[in-house]
């Protein structure tokens, strides 16, 4: 008798548990942001590229040593593979940058549009080169497609670094705007709470300091934007130019961090 009851109870509780599980399963899953998916795709394509590159380097070495038709056939095959993988990696990378630019909050619309246009141009060129590689099946044409990439590599990296610079500037601009809004909110709530004269004076000093901090950040961002404007459209946006902008933004970012701690103190 007892056994039967125990079995009944077990079945009962399991069915209750099952109900809960099915309830949980019917809830819609949270979709990861498109940008994160794009980044993952880029990382995966880079892994594939590294693998193919390794195979190509080995087969090239073998061809250089053996100088046979079989080894030539192999190196041609691996050359095509690695060049296609390189194009796929760049496609994934520029798509991720394009999504990042499109999702920017603090950037000027014209700058966003121009940068997006540059990225689209790069993607079209990469697709064109990829199609050429697809139709290439011998040593000469494959070396030619490789040279084509090398010719365009500077332009590609220039578009990439200018995009990265714009992303960095815009992120600081967006955070500074938010700091301004939060400061306003805190100041209003201080006034509404009608504190004593001493506390109000103290909060007022804090507010003034925060306002000065915001101004310093804005100046730093303005300087970085000028640097960005000076380089983009005129010259190649090198890694060095990008590093210069990062350095300029560094001062503003330090102030932004300070502003964050100020606003937290003021809100207390």
């Amino acid at each position: 008798m007892k056994k039967r009851y125990i079995i009944f109870l077990i079945i009962l509780f399991y069915s209750a548990g099952f109900l809960r599980i099915t309830q949980a399963q019917t809830e819609p899953p949270i979709a990861p942001p498109q940008l994160e998916i794009s980044k993952q795709q880029y990382i995966q394509s880079l892994d594939v590229y590294r693998e193919k590159e390794q195979k190509f380097l080995i087969s090239r070495e073998q061809y250089n040593q053996l100088q046979t038709l079989a080894s030539l056939e192999e190196v041609v095959r691996t050359s095509k593979d690695v060049q296609l993988a390189r194009m796929d990696t760049l496609t994934a990378y520029f798509n991720t940058l394009l999504l990042s630019i499109q999702n920017l909050k603090g950037a000027e619309i014209t700058k966003k549009a121009n940068q997006g246009q540059l990225l689209q141009t790069a993607l079209v060129e990469i697709e064109r080169q990829r199609n050429t590689i697809l139709t290439s099946n011998d040593r000469v044409t494959l070396d030619k497609t490789s040279a084509n990439y090398d010719d365009k590599q500077g332009a590609f990296s220039s578009i990439a670094y200018s995009s990265l610079a714009l992303i960095k500037i815009s992120n600081i601009q967006s955070a500074t705007d938010q700091l301004g809004v939060l400061t306003g909110e805190v100041y209003t709530s201080i006034q509404e709470s009608s504190p004593s004269a001493t506390i109000f004076a103290e909060k007022q000093r804090g507010y003034d300091e925060l306002a000065r901090t915001i101004e310093t950040i804005k100046m730093s961002t303005k300087k970085a934007t000028q640097q960005y404007d000076n380089i983009s459209g005129r010259d190649l946006f090198t890694q060095g130019a990008y590093a210069q902008i990062v350095e300029t933004l560094g001062t503003g970012y330090a102030k932004l961090k300070q502003g964050e701690s100020f606003i937290q103190e003021l809100a207390q």
Binding site: F8, A16, Y93, R139, A147, L182, A267
Partner: protein
């Protein structure tokens, strides 16, 4: 050793302090009467009773689960809902701001230019 020298001796002797027990013959009942009468197992009753209990428990579980769900919807009004709402909104804004500040770090570059080789020639240059 002295005690164990003659172990058969005490068999013939009567214990001094122990009273003699009177051995009386106990009448043994017939074996059939010792076995309890086998009652018929009420399977139907057990199933009906057990099923009823299970159904009751099942309904109880469902009610508890339903109550748990409803309790999420019905919330007691807090003494100052506006203040609490404002505070949580501000806290949320602060959290969002913190995330944005972390993301704005210019020294962190999670998308550097792909480290792809520029010397992928079969005949090296």
């Amino acid at each position: 050793m002295n005690d164990s020298e003659n172990q058969t001796q005490f068999i013939e002797e009567q214990p001094m302090l122990q009273q003699e027990k009177s051995v009386t013959a106990i009448p043994t009942p017939p074996i059939d009467s010792l076995i309890p009468e086998k009652k018929q197992f009420p399977i139907k009753k057990v199933f009906v009773f057990g099923g009823g209990v299970c159904l009751l428990l099942f309904i109880l579980v469902l009610m508890v689960m339903g109550k748990g769900k409803n309790s999420l919807k019905i919330t007691e009004p807090s003494p100052s809902p506006k203040t609490t709402q404002q505070l949580s909104d501000f806290q949320k804004s602060l959290q969002l701001f913190h995330t944005d500040v972390e993301r704005a770090d210019p020294t962190v570059n999670d998308l550097p230019y792909p480290p792809v080789n520029t010397n992928l020639y079969i005949i090296q240059r």
